[in-house]
């Protein structure tokens, strides 16, 4: 379980996060939704320790990530997998080497164990034949999938995905969503996904948190999403014409 308490962050004189609370449970795919520039990525970066929040706590199963010593922090980091908004594959390494990388750096497994595990993860995301290609030679959707394979290779307890399906066609998006949701269920991972994809919210939103200008305005799930009385949320989800008409 991940708990965040009163996370606030200001860049210069611009307040990006104004004190966010939340809990994320194992086995749940929790979504963070909100318009562009509302601070979703910054919140995620605060949670994984890439940005230091001005105040607040991040607890990983009770361990305070921001105040523990360096060794414990490293240990927590080894329990998390992250898919970045731009995939962040190492472009000097092949697809297979990318997926193997965490195993090479952080485990003492034998060559064949590492190879098997990396192949298994590639298979999981449907890319068992792309192992020898370079990241520059594969499509955006494939990069995202390689990113997921790399994020899950160490069997993380916590999985973070920043817009896993932005810029992908609807069918590929749904496949990626389902993949994330399946893995989460299967291994009881605590998964946090940032998205502004309406399909994802309806498909995999077991728990949804709506951010607006650095504040959490609403919390619920895919069933209650369309019935809220928060005007900002309604404006956000009924942005397209079809849905607006359905609301009426």
């Amino acid at each position: 379980m991940i708990e965040i308490k009163n996370i606030a962050k200001t860049f210069g004189d611009r307040q990006v996060l104004a004190g966010i609370d939340g809990t994320f449970k194992p086995g749940d795919t929790s979504l963070i939704i909100g318009g562009s520039g509302t601070g979703k990525s910054v919140l995620l970066k605060c949670m994984i320790g890439l940005v230091k929040p001005d105040s607040g706590e991040v607890l990983y199963d009770g361990r305070n990530f921001l105040t523990v010593d360096l060794e414990s922090q490293k240990a927590i980091r080894r329990e998390m997998g992250v898919l970045f908004q731009g995939s962040a594959l190492f472009d000097s390494k092949t697809v297979l080497e990318n997926v193997r990388f965490p195993l090479d750096m952080l485990t003492e497994q034998s060559e064949s164990e590492k190879l098997d595990r990396a192949q298994e993860c590639l298979q999981r995301v449907g890319l068992e034949n792309a192992g020898d290609r370079m990241p520059s030679e594969i499509s955006g959707g494939m990069k995202k999938r390689v990113g997921i394979a790399r994020a899950i290779v160490l069997n993380p307890k916590y999985l973070f995905c920043d817009e896993p399906n932005s810029g992908l066609d609807p069918l590929t998006s749904i496949k990626i969503d389902q993949l994330i949701s399946e893995i989460t269920d299967e291994y009881k991972i605590t998964t946090v996904v940032i998205t502004h994809d309406m399909n994802s919210m309806m498909e995999i939103g077991e728990k949804i948190m709506f951010l607006y200008k650095g504040n959490k305005l609403w919390e619920g799930d895919s069933n209650t999403l369309t019935q809220s009385s928060v005007p900002e949320l309604n404006e956000f989800i009924f942005a397209n014409k079809l849905l607006r008409e359905m609301e009426k």
């Binding site: 240990a75 080894r78 970045f84 731009g86 965490p102 750096m105 952080l106």
Partner: protein, 243 residues
């Protein structure tokens, strides 16, 4: 001034909580190939011609018939070893290796590859930068030794072909009043320059924020700052070691 402070903090981060040594070995070898082998051609070309030009120009300026011809070779030798081979090669390398390091790290920064390393709990600065620094400190001196040899050879070929000095005079000039400390001095300078070029360029690239435009700007300032650091260090080291 605060930039200088950040630079020293960055240097410190290279050595604190490193990864296992065996991780670095392969990386250092890779970097040696790309930095060392990749730079042979340009360093060789520049230095051969610099040696040739130094020889012919010195001959042109030495019109006094009482000055023995072998002085030309002596001047080529000393200017090559003391200044041209180490300093000029390192300035060439600042352009080639420095911009490469800054560009690579800058791109990794803006595409979140550095963040990806950090969240795995890997010390990204030491993982990415230390191999480059070590490879530079190992390879620059080798390149400079080659540069010195080729520069003197270039002087020989040009001098003999242009008919300004005979092969015997050139060789006797090379041997005249030779001080081995010159070579030591050149290598000390080179090691210092290698450290400066690689760390300054890495610092510029590692701390990029923004996009492609900023990566380009970081490459440029990597080269400019490295060159400034080289000439400043050159002056200081010459003061300390030769006087």
């Amino acid at each position: 001034m605060s930039r200088l402070g950040h630079y020293f903090i960055f240097l410190g981060s290279l050595f604190r909580n490193r990864e296992k040594m065996r991780v670095y070995l392969g990386l250092i070898l890779n970097e040696c190939t790309s930095i060392g082998v990749g730079s042979i051609f340009i360093v060789a070309l520049v230095n051969t011609f610099i040696g040739a030009v130094t020889c012919v120009q010195t001959a042109y300026n030495l019109t006094n018939p009482f000055v023995p011809k072998n002085i030309i070779a002596l001047i080529v030798r000393d200017s090559t070893i003391l200044e041209l081979a180490p300093t000029l090669s390192c300035i060439v390398l600042a352009g080639k290796v420095g911009s490469n390091i800054a560009g690579e790290l800058g791109t990794m920064r803006i595409t979140e590859q550095i963040d990806a390393l950090e969240v795995m709990g890997i010390n990204s600065s030491s993982y990415l930068v230390l191999p480059k620094v070590i490879a530079s400190v190992l390879m620059f001196p080798l390149l400079v030794m080659m540069a010195g040899f080729l520069s003197i050879l270039g002087g020989y070929i040009a001098g003999v072909l242009a008919g300004v000095i005979s092969p015997e005079d050139y060789v006797s000039g090379l041997r005249f009043d030779y001080k081995p400390f010159g070579v030591t001095f050149a290598l000390i300078k080179t090691v210092v320059f290698a450290f400066l070029v690689s760390t300054i360029s890495a610092y510029q690239g590692y701390n990029v924020s923004g996009g492609a435009l900023e990566v380009g700007a970081a490459s440029t300032s990597a080269v400019t700052n490295s060159c400034i650091a080289i000439v400043a260090a050159d002056f200081i080291l010459t003061q300390i070691l030769l006087t």
